[in-house]
């Protein structure tokens, strides 16, 4: 999906919500475990329940791989089920040398037909480049993540005065454009979005950490929104596991709708 189409979907729906499909068989309602493919059955119900309220879905690969080949089959079925007008993100955080990165790009863009994949920057440009050679596809580079230990290295100051995460943004923005490169910035660091926007005023940001991790949606919008909205805000556990009873899909819809309503309000102001 290209940038214009993404922006128009966000405007049309009044939502920049991404639903993270971190589907863990240990956390889904136990009655689903009797199904042939509990993970896909759960995802299908979640997609049906949330489709009116979001513009993107983001399966995290860790949860599918943990189930072996059957997990990748659940992922394939999930990807086939998601309608074409949703932006899809493989949350994979891959990063490897050139020929291997090219194989990961093939995995996510061709085998599974995702629109985008999250990529770790530690190995530098040649580990990211192979993700940038696909028409209408995106690399989403980790910049400042939402976890506590992001301070260990991302917030280390370099000799040149920049924090490592700033250096990652500053260097990498030349590798692609705001039409094939996005950045992950955690909602738990919303105050830093203002300075990040100085480096990349026009890029989309994928913002995890609203909900279970404690980030504030209104602060993210206040500091991070640009003229094209420029945000995809993700919620995973807060939506998926709002209830673990028979009403899990209704509960997921309620949580997604809450965020949607708040987003409509925030979008009406810009």
């Amino acid at each position: 999906m290209n940038k214009d189409k993404l922006i128009s979907e966000i405007r049309r729906k009044g939502s920049f919500l991404c639903v993270g499909l971190d589907t863990d068989p240990k956390k889904i309602p136990s009655h689903l475990l009797r199904e042939k493919d509990p993970v896909f059955t759960f995802n299908k119900a979640i997609i049906d329940a949330t489709a009116d309220h979001c513009v993107a879905y983001k399966p995290n690969l860790a949860f599918y791989e943990a189930l072996g080949p059957a997990g990748l089959e659940s992922l394939e079925k999930t990807m086939e089920y998601i309608p074409a007008d949703f932006f899809t993100i493989a949350d994979a955080k891959r990063g490897d040398i050139g020929n291997t990165a090219a194989s990961y790009a093939k995995t996510f863009f061709e085998t599974f037909n995702f629109d985008s994949v999250t990529v770790a920057p530690y190995m530098g440009r040649d580990s990211v480049d192979p993700f940038l050679n696909y028409e209408g596809k995106w690399a989403i580079l980790l910049a400042l993540t939402s976890n506590k230990s992001s301070a260990d290295f991302q917030m280390k100051k370099l000799e040149n005065g920049r924090y490592l995460y700033e250096e990652v943004i500053q260097e990498s923005k030349e590798w692609g454009s705001d039409s094939d490169l996005m950045y992950v910035v955690g909602a738990t660091k919303a105050d830093l979005l203002l300075s990040i926007r100085k480096f990349i005023p026009n890029h989309f940001l994928l913002v995890p950490g609203v909900g279970a991790q404690g980030g504030s949606l209104s602060e993210v919008a206040q500091y991070g929104m640009n003229k094209d909205v420029g945000l995809l805000v993700n919620s995973s556990r807060g939506i998926l596991y709002a209830s673990n009873g028979d009403d899990f899909a209704e509960a997921a819809k309620r949580e997604a709708k809450k965020l949607h309503t708040e987003m409509k309000e925030l979008l009406s102001k810009v």
Copy 2:
């Protein structure tokens, strides 16, 4: 596999060679494509041909995932085929927040029963910790990689005077011990092994980049070997694709044996 057992296997065989199973259907001999599972058939022949000359096998996940569920089945069969006295490395370069990292640890240590997994450090301690809670299992942290673009961030100097890769080693060595943590250091940076050994005299290093990438085995041994050998040197393409004819397994054996002979010689000096 614990550290004592790994050292004793290296001593017994006179080899610290790891064979990287980066099995790409586009590069394997075309006559294998008629097999039901070409990737497993190729791996099986490579394992049979190289088992006398190496102590470890390292499948790179990118090549298996690119084939979807069938690729993970080939990986499962490969893991079942590798005898128990070989050290196995999932070259996955994962790194994600705590609950997701825990799911990756489960994937590689439980679902696929690897001894170790390569992990990217960018997200910090809580993305690595879940890999350290398994008896006899290892996290292998990226420190200084063999690719050209490792200079982009890993070789950036911090305010405290250290390079980022040195900071990664210095900080992370406290997260585990030399019995559950190794580091990736590329053979293309052999001269830096001397300074790396000042930070971590006792840890094992996984060293890719010998062969196709141009690193020198004798330099790696000269600068990186410690009292326990402390090295696993990987070769992937140089062994796997030594020939793409009917003689691919013999050619792989010949290349593995060449490295083994050189390793025996290097080990006899210490």
